[in-house]
């Protein structure tokens, strides 16, 4: 059947049903998963793929998985000829250098049959609680090569004809710390794959394979045209941007990220050439992750609701030189790629700022901060749990950034203070907005937080990680940068130990771990911010009296409840004269460049 023989009604019904099948897979995964990170953190994705790996439809709870599934399908079909597959088979892998993302993400791929022929694949990714390696959770900050990060799984059979393939099951069972959880989650992944197989087969039965396949071509073309129409609205040009990632080493150095975005007509090429070489710490990002970063930024800036299929990504090409931070080669370690991938995302965002004008946004604060705590309670029983928090997002041309919210790459939750205190020997002394952390601007960046934990019963071993301790979330068009991230230990004897952004630390009874997350960048000249809004920020303790004066040129009235109009106007004139017009595009703060 030719493309034009499928009517637009049928095409839309097929699109809707494909989306529904992917969502049903995803709900099944989330419903059946054992691990909290999948269930609550929704760190998993599901989709349907053509036999060549093209995305038919994907339910994506976590944008970091956006383009991470296609390579998995291709790796499986490269390792196992399609003609040898049977109904009820499934394959798994996690090797970042052969179809995977980082080791904790195990991807399962299952063939979908029509008669004797494989017509497509169902694939499901889930972040496992543990895959072995140096530290529980397989997310150590101390690794030097992939082999230390856990069990590396090339494409291998997991189920054969609906029955467990024992060698693979045994291999996984004896190489992970939480075998029941991991095998349980793989079971949930298989259940989700079966929902995908059943859903697609039902569609074939009611609509016919020819109609579906012709519709796929139309749907891919529609998504591609829709994305290209949005890209057409961005002025052609070459836009370059550079930024930094905190080094994993103890020295407080930073390593460069470079990004060149070329917009030509309806297509975009993103090139990360110039970015640092791959590192001997777990901060590398494989190409699939880098691509997800670039795609997520462009999708967010142009068409957040665009259906997720192959057509949606055709207009965007991503290049990163082999052996670099964003396209490393074996055996570069990769576990902590989440924070770093966010820098690829920021870099594309930054590059497009001059092109987008009012549609641009200032830099989000930098990702999230993950801190694990492991120790023994007063009764001597071992415990281990992780805390998550984040900063604010960048200001928009018409509104302030949001405080303490996920940036768009992962989507997890902060655990309740009361959950910590009911269960573990810690006290959360503070969880409050961090004053002055949002970048000043006509529209202010979102604020970060201060979250401090007192250890009531030591020793506690803690692995903590974040980024942007050595670079600022940039402000744009005159807006100031948001605050950088920092963390320190206030020892029981009063000494302060400032921490690097990725460390494994020991805490004793009475020690306090203080963590401060960054703020989003500001948008536009702070001297143009409505003084009333500055006053309100002061009243609401988002901006200090001093910053109101020094950054915004707003002089408060004696009652502290109003601003002095005349004094404010005079101060703003004086500041503007001294500073000159705010003509620069980026402000990256101290030791950055404008």
């Amino acid at each position: 059947m030719r493309q034009n023989e499928v009517d637009p009604i049928t095409v839309e019904i097929i699109r809707n049903r494909l989306e529904s099948v992917a969502n049903a897979m995803q709900f099944t995964l989330l419903r059946s998963a054992v691990a909290v990170i999948v269930k609550e953190g929704e760190d998993g994705s599901s989709g349907l793929f053509k036999t060549d790996g093209d995305t038919i439809s994907q339910a994506c709870a976590c944008p970091i998985h956006l383009t991470s599934m296609r390579p998995a399908v291709q790796s499986v079909t490269a390792a196992y000829p399609i003609k040898d597959m049977a109904e009820g088979d499934s394959f798994i892998l996690n090797d970042p250098y052969n179809g995977g993302s980082h080791l904790p993400d195990i991807i399962m791929v299952a063939p979908i049959f029509h008669g004797d022929e494989v017509v497509s694949f169902a694939a499901v990714l889930a972040h496992q609680e543990d895959v072995g390696g140096q530290e529980q959770g397989s997310m150590s900050a101390n690794t030097r090569e992939l082999y230390q990060e856990g069990l590396i799984i090339p494409p291998i059979p997991w189920m054969k004809g609906g029955r467990p393939f024992k060698p693979s099951h045994d291999m996984v069972r004896y190489n992970v710390r939480l075998p029941e959880t991991v095998l349980g989650d793989l079971e949930a992944q298989y259940a989700a794959c079966r929902i995908g197989v059943r859903g697609y087969c039902e569609m074939i039965a009611s609509l016919g394979l020819d109609v579906i396949e012709s519709s796929l071509d139309i749907l891919f073309d529609q998504a591609e045209r829709r994305m290209r129409a949005k890209i057409m609205q961005i002025p052609d040009g070459v836009y370059e941007f550079d930024d930094w990632v905190d080094s994993h080493r103890k020295e407080r150095d930073r390593i460069p990220v470079a990004c060149r975005v070329e917009v030509a007509g309806s297509g975009i090429t993103v090139d990360f050439t110039g970015t640092a070489e791959q590192q001997d710490g777990p901060i590398n990002v494989n190409l699939a992750g880098t691509e997800s970063g670039a795609h997520a930024t462009i999708k967010g800036l142009t068409d957040p609701d665009l259906p997720l299929n192959e057509g949606a990504v055709r207009a965007i090409r991503v290049v990163a030189p082999e052996g670099s931070l964003f396209n490393p080669t074996r055996p570069a370690p990769i576990a902590l790629r989440g924070q770093i991938c966010q820098r690829a995302y920021d870099a594309v965002l930054g590059a497009l700022v001059p092109a987008l004008g009012d549609d641009a946004v200032a830099c989000p604060s930098g990702g999230n901060m993950v801190t694990s705590f492991g120790g023994r309670d007063q009764g001597g029983e071992f415990y281990g749990s992780s805390d998550l928090t984040t900063g604010g997002i960048g200001a928009r041309s018409d509104s302030d950034g949001i405080d303490h919210i996920e940036h768009g790459f992962t989507n997890v939750q902060t655990p309740p203070v009361e959950a910590w205190e009911s269960r573990y020997p810690v006290r959360v002394l503070e969880h409050e907005l961090r004053i002055d952390s949002g970048g000043a601007g006509k529209f202010r960046g979102g604020l970060g937080v201060r979250r401090s934990f007192e250890i009531l019963h030591g020793p506690v071993r803690s692995c903590h990680r974040h980024d942007r301790a050595t670079s600022s979330p940039w402000g744009i068009f005159g807006g100031k940068p948001g605050a950088r991230w920092r963390s320190y230990i206030r020892r029981v004897n009063g000494e302060i130990e400032v921490l690097h952004s990725k460390e494994v630390i020991e805490l004793g009874t009475g020690d306090v771990l203080v963590r401060e997350t960054g703020g989003g960048g500001g948008w536009g000249d702070p001297l143009e911010r409505d003084p009333q809004r500055v006053l309100e920020d002061v009243l609401d303790r988002k901006v200090s009296v001093q910053a109101a004066r020094d950054e915004y040129g707003v002089v408060l009235g004696r009652d502290g409840l109003s601003f002095d109009e005349a004094a404010t106007a005079a101060l703003r004139r004086k500041m503007a004269d001294e500073r000159g017009p705010a003509t620069w595009t980026f402000d990256r703060g101290e030791d950055g460049c404008q």
Partner: protein
């Protein structure tokens, strides 16, 4: 006992009465003055039934008061409130849990309801209770008084919320703050977290407490006005109000906890769907209520309404018991549009009621699903909503023809396409609601209520493999009917972490349940129905150790060792049902104990439900016929029947259209309608 139920909607107020053994229904345009609207409704029912005040007066009036609380939130017109929290944690309301409901979008709005209390009105108080309930830092009473004095003097707050950390374990500091504030500021309305929502997880609790304070002045005023009005004009009627969990509460109970009135609107419809389903021996029901902008979907299993403890209002957590329901974004006003890539879509944008679909003639210029139903011949322009709104077919044809021309389709093809897409969307959305809850829709009966469902229900059912659709006699006033059959309820909860449920101290747990029950009993003795026994339902929220979410498990009385074992076994079983796996080797925790104390609503006799039925079952003649296009039958001269003419036992084969004042029912080829003895209409949907 006589009862009147009043359901206040945006456009219409529905009134149901059960008086002297007979059911009455009435419909009136909603009054802008809600209090007056209620009083008018009561008077209308009294006049119609001729009940004499004082002699055999109306004893009880049940009201849906939802609009007051919900509108205060939607319009951001709640009270100016202050918030006292624990020092170091004053911003928890705004910080939220950091998760986003909308991915990718750089322009998304905030996720947390920080607007309820701006930072200047949030104060951290020097006090601290630890996770085990021990006081670590005593309450600074002077600071409490000074800060509230300042909030009143400087910001003129109208109400106050208090939520201290760990108050769910030990409410001492909250209670003491409430006490000293009551003495110092007797007129200040105060909501405290251990009374509103004494459950752990501080963000969800502070949201609930702040929402309670935010709507408190409005709700208190509304309830008092209603009481005054009823005393004046209601001839001795007592006022009760629907709560979001599907139970009825007294005016005093509502005033004590206004937050429980949020989202009580849809609850009555679900209660009613369960009632009419059970009355027809259908225990497994998918209820669908198709509105203008969206469709509400609820699941009823084994004739039990499912209650969610983790309710939301929009994206904000509102942790009061709520009838479990999902809203999907397809409705009669859903707009058809073509994207930049040339793809045709329906919704989620909707024309709402203003300007509404083009066929409403109120200036709508975009093609909606209602316009498609007019073009397809399903809707009778002269008999829409019983003739209260005359539809304009020419306007519908115009917008659909324009859309069709862009797709190279005839107007009829375009309209049929829109209808099919909408049906497919509803079916897929309902499928996902069932997948999430681990059930198979094919084992359910679909009950269609509200005005819009009849057009789509049979087609949606066919897509889902659902064999049977039931349309009650008066689907448009089913929510008002639900008010007449809801139990009188109160709800008690205690967070009690028991890390190994299998070894729980049975005496301690039994004592906690007894305390909750006697509290409920006292409340119902004071506030509840006269001469109706109080019963209790015990449950516990349990989880596997390490999980961050709980399941609610029924608990037997008394809580002895066998009951404890049944609770643990029950948890494993429910976990298996809900999540697809269980692990009996894993330790099970108890987090919360819950008791619902209730007085059951009086059952209505079957005759009351069926009302007057037309005589004989054999003689079924269509009233008329009109040209209509169906997905399966195609374009035909379809017979049109009047619902009220159809006697019990009547059988109508599709394609056909059945009209009644409050809905239009579309039946395609291969489907068949039968009328039950009780007047319910059943569509047998599968060939």
């Amino acid at each position: 006992m006589h009862r009147i139920g009043i359901d206040i909607g945006g456009t219409f107020t529905d009134i149901a009465g059960y008086i002297d053994g007979t059911l009455y229904y009435a419909k009136a345009p909603s009054s802008p003055d809600i209090v007056q609207g209620v009083l008018d409704g009561v008077r209308m029912m009294l006049d119609e039934t001729g009940v004499v005040p004082g002699e055999n007066g109306i004893e009880i009036v049940h009201i849906h008061g939802t609009t007051i609380a919900t509108n205060a939130l939607l319009e951001r017109k709640g009270a100016r409130i202050g918030l006292l929290t624990t020092q170091g944690h004053r911003d928890s309301l705004e910080l939220g849990r950091m998760k986003r409901s909308r991915l990718y979008d750089f322009r998304a709005p905030p996720e947390s309801p920080g607007f309820l209390v701006p930072g200047r009105l949030r104060v951290g108080i020097s006090e601290r209770i630890d996770g085990q309930g021990t006081v670590v830092t005593p309450l600074d009473e002077k600071q409490v008084l000074a800060e509230v004095q300042r909030m009143i003097d400087v910001f003129a707050i109208e109400a106050l919320a208090i939520c201290y950390l760990n108050a769910y374990v030990n409410p001492e500091h909250e209670e003491r703050s409430r006490e000293i504030l009551g003495q110092a500021f007797p007129d200040l309305l105060v909501s405290v977290s251990n009374r509103v929502n004494p459950v752990f997880r501080e963000y969800e609790r502070v949201c609930c407490t702040a929402f309670d304070a935010y709507v408190r002045p409005k709700v208190v005023h509304y309830v008092r006005q209603l009481e005054k009005g009823l005393a004046r004009e209601g001839r001795g009627a007592r006022l009760h109000l629907m709560q979001s969990g599907g139970g009825i509460a007294s005016a005093e109970m509502t005033v004590a906890k206004p937050v429980s009135m949020f989202l009580s609107g849809p609850a009555a419809g679900v209660i009613a769907a369960r009632y009419v389903g059970r009355a027809s021996d259908r225990g497994n029901v998918i209820g669908i209520d198709v509105g203008g902008t969206s469709t509400d979907v609820c699941l009823i299993r084994d004739a039990k309404v499912q209650i969610s403890r983790e309710g939301r209002i929009g994206k904000y957590p509102l942790r009061v018991p709520m009838v479990d329901m999902e809203t999907v974004g397809s409705g009669g006003g859903s707009i058809a549009w073509i994207d930049d890539g040339g793809g045709l879509h329906m919704g989620p944008e909707s024309a709402g009621s203003v300007p509404g679909p083009a066929c409403y003639g109120r200036g709508g210029r975009l093609p909606t699903s209602s316009d498609a139903s007019v073009v397809l011949g399903f809707l009778n322009p002269d008999y829409f909503a019983g003739g209260t709104l005359r539809l304009e077919p020419d306007l519908a044809h115009g917008v659909i023809a324009e859309l069709g021309s862009r797709l190279r389709l005839t107007p009829m093809e375009a309209a049929l396409g829109m209808y099919r897409i909408l049906v497919s969307q509803m079916a897929e959305a309902i499928k996902l609601v069932t997948v999430k809850r681990g059930v198979d829709p094919r084992e359910f009966t679909m009950i269609s209520f509200g005005g819009g469902g009849g057009l789509y229900a049979a087609a949606v059912a066919r897509e889902l493999g659902v064999a049977e659709v039931m349309v009650p006699r008066s689907p448009g006033t089913l929510s008002a009917f639900g008010l007449l059959v809801s139990d009188f309820e109160t709800d008690g909860v205690k967070t009690l972490f028991i890390h190994n449920a299998a070894l729980a101290d049975v005496d301690e747990v039994e004592a906690e349940y007894r305390r909750l029950e006697s509290h409920g009993e006292e409340e119902l003795d004071r506030e509840g129905l006269k001469d109706v026994p109080v019963r209790h339902r015990r449950t516990a929220e349990m989880r596997y150790e390490g999980q961050a979410y709980e399941l609610e498990i029924p608990i037997d009385e008394p809580f002895d060792e066998p009951a404890r074992q049944r609770a643990v076994d029950g948890f494993h079983e429910v976990h298996g049902l809900v999540y697809g796996h269980s692990n009996t080797a894993r330790q099970v925790e108890i987090v919360n104990l819950r008791v619902v104390s209730y007085q059951a609503a009086e059952e209505l006799p079957g005759e009351a439900l069926s009302g007057d039925m037309p005589g004989d079952g054999d003689d079924v003649q269509p009233a008329t016929a009109r040209r209509a296009a169906f997905p399966v039958a195609g374009e035909v001269d379809a017979p049109v029947y009047h619902r009220l003419d159809l006697p019990a036992g009547a059988v109508v084969a599709g394609p056909a259209i059945i009209e009644q004042a409050d809905t239009t029912i579309v039946v395609d080829r291969g489907q068949r309608v039968t009328i039950g003895d009780d007047g319910n209409l059943f569509i047998h949907c599968l060939d």
